[in-house]
């Protein structure tokens, strides 16, 4: 068995697709791994296949045993019926609105604060930075109830403000991530700009922001993901049906469609497809973001 391959990734990516030279035997080990990965891939994709397949079936076919993997007849109308059975258009608009604020808020504010922690020397920075790090460990549920009380005393329960405002107050984790990223940007760049008379705001806006695009893209995607899937926020603060988001709408849709799994699966597809599209369009940034996270390990 040929064991002469390297573990390094850089090489693996550069090597040509043909992994074994002609004339040399394909190592059994690789065949096994390949087979195993193929089987695993099928298992990992089957749930998604099942969701789409169920969403296209008729009620009778869903109750059928043994179940079918491919619908006997494709009921595309399930989607239209689902879309109109609940105000999905409204849910989508509401979700997009909240997602917009989450993305803009998180990107701008975290980048701004991270600059302060990475590039400015000020009194008390060490103290505040360790406070910031320690807040990462506070479980969200500990502040959930008092935050609700706070927003309720401010008369904001029933509006989007309790969901939107925190997006503009920085997230400890993203600030930490971006700060690590900024520290790798050479100080000479900003120092040269300082000598030319630029203020911190200009340096941040003109030099650091353009250089940190990959990091910002990762945060934008995470914030999008978080806001799109946010359940707790809207569940807690929104009571009027006209303000429902996709997650809350889908959850209450279940009550009305209790046993109609074709409609429930169609609804799930509708809610999940944007995330899947986003993933395929911006896969690079998902991975970039995970690597940023990995970089925070030490």
């Amino acid at each position: 068995m040929g064991q002469a391959y390297s573990y390094s990734k850089g090489e693996a990516e550069l090597v040509q697709p043909s992994l074994h030279k002609p004339g040399r035997r394909l190592p059994l080990r690789k065949v096994l791994i390949f087979t195993f990965l193929c089987a695993g891939s099928v298992l990992f994709l089957l749930p998604l296949w099942w969701m789409i397949s169920t969403s296209l079936k008729s009620m009778q076919e869903i109750a059928q045993y043994p179940p079918t993997f491919i619908p006997e007849q494709f009921h595309w109308s399930n989607y239209l019926e689902t879309w109109t059975a609940a105000p999905f258009t409204r849910y989508t608009m509401n979700t997009l609105l909240l997602t917009f604020f989450a993305v803009t808020g998180n990107v701008i504010v975290n980048a701004f604060v991270a600059y302060g922690f990475a590039k400015i020397r000020f009194r008390g920075k060490k103290l505040w930075f360790s406070v910031l790090l320690s807040t990462i460990m506070i479980p969200g549920f500990v502040t959930l109830i008092p935050q609700y009380v706070l927003f309720s005393k401010l008369g904001l329960v029933g509006t989007y403000y309790p969901i939107i405002i925190p997006q503009f107050l920085g997230s400890a984790f993203y600030i930490f991530m971006l700060r690590q990223f900024y520290l790798t940007i050479p100080t000479e760049l900003s120092e040269a700009a300082r000598i030319d008379g630029a203020g911190h705001f200009q340096i941040w806006y003109r030099i650091i922001l353009p250089l940190s695009k990959p990091g910002l893209a990762a945060i934008a995607i995470f914030a999008f993901n978080g806001a799109w899937n946010d359940f707790l926020g809207p569940l807690l603060y929104v009571n009027d049906e006209s303000l429902y988001t996709l997650q809350i709408g889908l959850q209450s849709f279940r009550g009305a469609m209790q046993t109609q799994w074709n409609y429930l699966m169609a609804g799930s597809v509708i809610v999940l497809v944007p995330m899947i599209l986003l993933f395929f369009l911006f896969q690079r940034y998902f991975i970039e973001g995970m690597n940023l996270t990995a970089g925070t390990k030490g």
Binding site: L37, P66, P146, L183
Partner: protein, 319 residues
């Protein structure tokens, strides 16, 4: 790397002018605080103030509309002595964490090892295994409720092919939590990607040298790979532990009207707390519950940190 640490040899400019700070230093101070101001507002407004409020609130009887009555430790006493659902929900959560954290950690390490091999189509494999982890929320829970349907679901259909009569999953109190953990395993791709990045930063020379010394694959894994990826394992364990104790939505969405499933088997700690706070408005009690959780998570994280010194290997560190 770290700008806060003065480098050897170079005197920190601020340290030099400590007794009387110059005009420049003071303007830097001002700039620094302007930049971190949004976070500072958030820290005081939606973290510290709520924390203090809930600490005080945990010693009161409070239903959000009437005055807070100070009742001392009564909430805590009630929790430990006369609320069987407190213990039930706590043990449900611990059961979940105890299985989910090791299983997802081991699962994602193994997957990363496989996906770090050089075989054809690797890019595609990585994409496929990573994809499920970006999906979350109500849609995913519905999907799994459908997959876990005892008679017509995919899971039991596949099991029947290999001659296993699958359980009733979400309606059998014994199988509800394994079902939820099973669902979590579908999303190991997130952790996998972290490990993959870390595996790829291991210098290949280490393996070459070990192979020349005749070390077996298992020994190479045990003595090279494992120590090299230990910081990521540590990070992953700490974050999934903290995340695991926050389990809520699985119990809320996947059970009948958020009740916590058959025999309260999916009544997780946070779900119980949620009902206390927002269904019966027993907020003082719920805040006391939150603090107990906080203390448990803090102790476990600190313990983790302490134990980590024994097995986490930092390059260049003296551990």
């Amino acid at each position: 790397m770290n700008m806060n640490q003065p480098q050897a040899g170079a005197q920190h400019p601020l340290k030099a002018s400590k007794p009387r700070r110059g005009k420049l230093a003071r303007s830097e101070d001002r700039a620094g605080y302007i930049f971190i101001l949004p976070w500072l507002i958030g820290f005081f407004g939606i973290t510290l103030l709520p924390l203090l409020f809930s600490l005080y609130g945990s010693f009161t009887n409070y239903d959000i509309t009437s005055q807070m009555d100070f009742i001392g430790l009564a909430n805590y006493e009630r929790m430990f002595s006369s609320d069987p659902l407190f213990w039930k929900s706590l043990s449900n959560t611990i059961y979940y964490v105890l299985w989910m954290v090791p299983l997802t950690t081991i699962g994602s390490v193994l997957l990363a090892l496989l996906l770090n091999e050089r075989v054809a189509g690797m890019r595609m494999f990585r994409t496929i295994f990573y994809l499920p982890s970006v999906l979350s929320g109500v849609g995913v829970y519905f999907l799994w409720m459908q997959l876990l349907n005892p008679s017509t679901g995919l899971v039991n259909t596949l099991l029947s092919w290999v001659g296993i009569a699958g359980p009733a999953w979400l309606t059998d109190p014994f199988w509800t939590k394994p079902a939820v953990i099973f669902m979590k395993m579908w999303a190991v791709g997130g952790g996998m990607l972290l490990y993959l990045a870390s595996l790829q930063s291991v210098p290949p020379q280490l393996y070459e040298a070990a192979r020349l010394d005749g070390a077996s694959a298992l020994r190479r894994f045990r003595h090279i790979t494992l120590p090299m990826i230990s910081p990521v394992i540590f990070y992953d364990v700490v974050t999934s532990l903290i995340g695991g104790f926050q389990v809520f939505q699985e119990g809320y969405v996947m059970t009948e009207s958020g009740g916590g499933g058959p025999m309260h088997s999916l009544l997780f700690y946070n779900l119980h707390m949620w009902h206390k706070a927002f269904t019966v408005f027993d907020m003082g009690y719920a805040m006391a519950m939150a603090w107990v959780l906080f203390v448990v998570v803090m102790i476990l994280t600190a313990l983790n940190l302490k134990l980590s010194k024994r097995w986490v290997h930092y390059e260049g560190g003296d551990s």
